[in-house]
Amino acid sequence: MRAYIPSYQLTTPASLADALALLGDEPGVWKPFAGGTDLMVLLEAGKLPHRNYVNIWPLRELRGIDMSDTHVTLGALTTYTDVQANDVLQSEFPMLCQAASETGGLAIQNRGTLGGNIINASPAADSPPALLAYDAEIELVSRDGSRWIPYDGFHTGYKQMNMRADELLARIRLPRQTVPLKPYYRKVGTRKAQAISKVCFAAVAGREGDRLTTVRIALGSVAPIVLRCKQTEDAIRGQELNDETMTRARETLMREISPIDDVRSTADYRLRVAANLLVDFLVTSRS
């Protein structure tokens, strides 16, 4: 049933400082509201439990994509459209652009934000696997200051995050690759477009001879959180990419993830698809 609209507050602060003051004065009372592509769906379904929101959408401080020699830094309000329009992201971080292009249609891509995709904390989100594979860091700000933390480890359980109620996700930082890494990104859904993931697989590989010296693998929709699969990486890194390694990697991945049966797919299907994508990634990396 539709929510009772008069019971929801959405206040627009004049600046980031004002937004942080609001979050700091009454921790937990206010929550940030960005492009609304997740929260408005809950509102319409009568399932938006929180009542008071800070409208961060107009805050220019949270927009923009900055380049340095070592990093690309994206404001939390960077939309999927912004991501796809950026030439450096297209050439150096193509998996993020692919994730952005495969999330909803254009009207959603114009409003959905990277920060929102992280903070909504859906295990089926499509940009977080790419962010994990690219070793992203995130900046949490409050009126007391700012801290950069690795994105890996930020999600601690289903919809649980390592952040305080007075903090706001402000920026996302991607280290620019010093050696070229081969990307592999596959979103598996019911259709090629306009579908929520059954499994999402993002990985990068750096090869020396017939071994992968760098490998980072992250999956969505296979655990309570979007998961960086470090045990699987350890089973691959430095090993010759032969059948034995592939079998061991496959078995490790199937132990490391914990998919469930739900409305979109089954645990068994997800396990098999995830394992097959891993093998496809390794075969692709070898060639």
């Binding site: 609209i5 959405l10 206040t11 609304g36 379904a45 107009p58």
Partner: protein, 155 residues
């Protein structure tokens, strides 16, 4: 209980000031407060594109926009696409080539197509399919819609 507040924004080039609840959906404000009923509600969750409008020049699903976020912004609905009696080339093409059947998806389809042609006057087939991807039609009329957009590009 939250109080209504005054919000000013442009709708189809005209400045409007309304007393609204901040979390009211732009879709409902357009239809119920401004009586602009060309914008349709399909799914109410951003899947179908029937409620597509332009928000500062970009298409959005108006069912997913709380009205507080359009303060000071410029909104274009299907009512603002024609210039007086002069239909937009996309609208004319939808009429001539059977792009509209029941009509529920049509305003969203037309806004998505107008937006596509503004960004890209010579789209490829793939560009057109991508441009319309967020808009669902349940009359199985996709080919006629697609052809209408192709014809509009040729004008």
């Amino acid at each position: 209980m939250v109080k209504k507040t005054a919000i000013e924004f442009q709708v189809n080039g005209e400045s409007r000031t309304l007393e609204v609840f901040p979390m009211a959906r732009l879709l409902d404000v357009l239809r119920e407060d401004l009586h602009l009923t060309g914008t349709k509600e399909g799914c109410g969750e951003g899947e179908c594109g029937a409620c597509t409008v332009k928000f500062n020049g970009e298409i959005v699903n108006s069912c997913l926009v709380p009205v507080a976020q359009v303060a000071g912004a410029s909104i274009t609905t299907i009512e603002g696409v024609a210039q007086g009696d002069q239909l937009h080339a996309v609208q004319q093409a939808f009429i001539e080539h059977g792009g509209a059947q029941c009509g529920i998806c049509t305003p969203g389809m037309i806004l998505a197509a107008v937006d596509l042609l503004e960004r890209n006057p010579a789209p490829t087939e793939a560009d057109i399919r991508n441009g319309l991807a967020g808009n669902l039609c349940r009359c199985t009329g996709y080919m006629k819609i697609f052809e209408s957009v192709v014809r509009a590009c040729q004008k």
